[in-house]
Symmetry: C2
Subunit: 380 residues, 2 copies
Amino acid sequence: MNFFAKTQKMTFDAPLSMQSGAFLQNYELAYETYGELNEDRSNAVLICHALNASHHVSGVYEEQENSEGWWFNMIGPGKSVDTNRFFVICINNLGSCFGSTGPMSINPETQEAYGSAFPVVTVEDWVQSQERLIDRLGIKTLLAVMGGSLGGMQVLSWTLQYPDKVKNAIVIASAPNLNAENIAFNEVARRAIVTDPDFHEGNYYKYGVVPKRGLRIARMIGHITYLSDDVMNSKFGRTLRRSIKKETELKDQNYLFTTQNIEFEIESYLRYQGDKFSEYFDANTYLLITRALDYFDPAKKYNGNLSLAFNAIKAKFLIISFTTDWRFSPNRSEELVKALLDNERQVSYLNINAPNGHDAFLLDDSRYMSAIKNYFSNIN
Amino acid sequence: MNFFAKTQKMTFDAPLSMQSGAFLQNYELAYETYGELNEDRSNAVLICHALNASHHVSGVYEEQENSEGWWFNMIGPGKSVDTNRFFVICINNLGSCFGSTGPMSINPETQEAYGSAFPVVTVEDWVQSQERLIDRLGIKTLLAVMGGSLGGMQVLSWTLQYPDKVKNAIVIASAPNLNAENIAFNEVARRAIVTDPDFHEGNYYKYGVVPKRGLRIARMIGHITYLSDDVMNSKFGRTLRRSIKKETELKDQNYLFTTQNIEFEIESYLRYQGDKFSEYFDANTYLLITRALDYFDPAKKYNGNLSLAFNAIKAKFLIISFTTDWRFSPNRSEELVKALLDNERQVSYLNINAPNGHDAFLLDDSRYMSAIKNYFSNIN
């Protein structure tokens, strides 16, 4: 069933004091809401988005085909997060390229696009800015905050920064911080962007170019880490590209013997994903968001002791991981569970046997959808 | 104990008919030998090198410090492959940038560097060219052929193309072919090189430039896949770069809040590896060698049935894998073992519990070194 989404904007004049020490003035947040806020304002559910997503989490835009939000399978009337019962909010993160103030916005100090002058933003900064918007909507307590991957980190940060404002936290395919391998992949992606001659130190807007070469590489790397080895083998394996075309003269499936042209189907898939991404995503945003991922580490000021860090938490938790997710593997979710149990917090944990790797958190899976539905049925 | 290595060259005038249908005329192979060929020429051991290595497998170059060959810990007088007993040969592969004919060599047809005109070379082509050199040395049968990773694929190809010329095959940290994820990583690396504006469609030599940006990215990706998650965490973890410098004023370990500068130690390591590689490795060679990896697939003409493909093999096998190698995981080695057993061939298999990922095949590990030593003690 289709239902309509509409982007709204909210402007903030009080400067936002960021973790880096920088201040952001006069910023704007794009957001969408679904369902109705009840009279005592107790049915609000905040969804936090991940790396390349936006506030458009569900619904469709009027008169715009194929405009379903990125969690359309999860959120809506009668769905796992039922918008007949809950008032769902999703806010585009600061630094994004989808509507909230970001590197493409005009810097009031220079009257030019921020570019690389946009302050480095952290998960904590995002949550702080989200809290202001929630407060402006007149919501004192969120019934739930929910997110996958980087979205899950924002959920954690909500329960730590505003322990009295979150009743339930749903953290999916996430981790208490990035490990060295995660940071390594982010760094390669960033280097591909930054060393693209069209990057111009982040001020490419005024040159009328986009560092597409770098964005393509960044996205290709991302896609490899989103998928599991198993699903890559079953989806693509060693299938040659042109066998897809079923041209009879090519039925013998011999190699083309080329180093620069596409030979395997997996190459075609990755190039397509890279090309598509480079058409719509902003390079400075990619740098900022991957860095926010790198920096998130709530245990840092407790010498790495996550149990100490989680002492402030009051929310009840549902934590979900996926067996084949090697980007944020189940043992990272188990670290969260352990730190919550060490503090005698209420936590349910589900490790779902799914073949799709990290991507699983965005896909339909009946056990996954039921688990969320059940949790929300009994929520309070 | 130091012993000296000396590069030799051998020229071949008979054209090499390559798998792609191309012919290579007048090529030269660089190689090194260690130890003495015995009178009945029965003690020859051929070592096949992997992606970025060369024929300089052991020994040191006279009057050149830190010039140990890449398998110096494995090969030499009294070592696991004892050059007091064996005549060890290592040949630089065609297409390389370390002495054998490759993209940097002069194309006799144009009197310019081959560049991207150098024919696409396969594992089978390499083995064919190696066999000619072995034959020229008067060796009719190799006591052993040994290699790790891509080197292991050459060993497999030797036992398939020249079943009567190989008595023992030692295949380490290898696989019967690349899986989709392996190809994906290779493809991203290649795209980074090919889309570097300094690549000039492979003919950068005449522009006096090198696609260093692409080479750096390629190498950074490579290094991530060579290491295990565990060893990355224990070696680098989330350590900040400047904590290494132990500057007291930075002792609080606060973030720098930067997207373009180095923040974490792992970033510093990867950038260093990328920079170093881009100084000495040829971009066209990188394309050729990663493609040779992609193409290798002896089961291809048997509809993916490796057991059928291995029916031609006569050699005895020692196969070694490493538990934390996710580039060529142990289950890929087990596929080799199974296909050999299906054909009732003699095979010993060792899966070594080592933390270092794919890199383990180049590192000192007493169990690993002993296993090779023992195998060679009883070899015949």
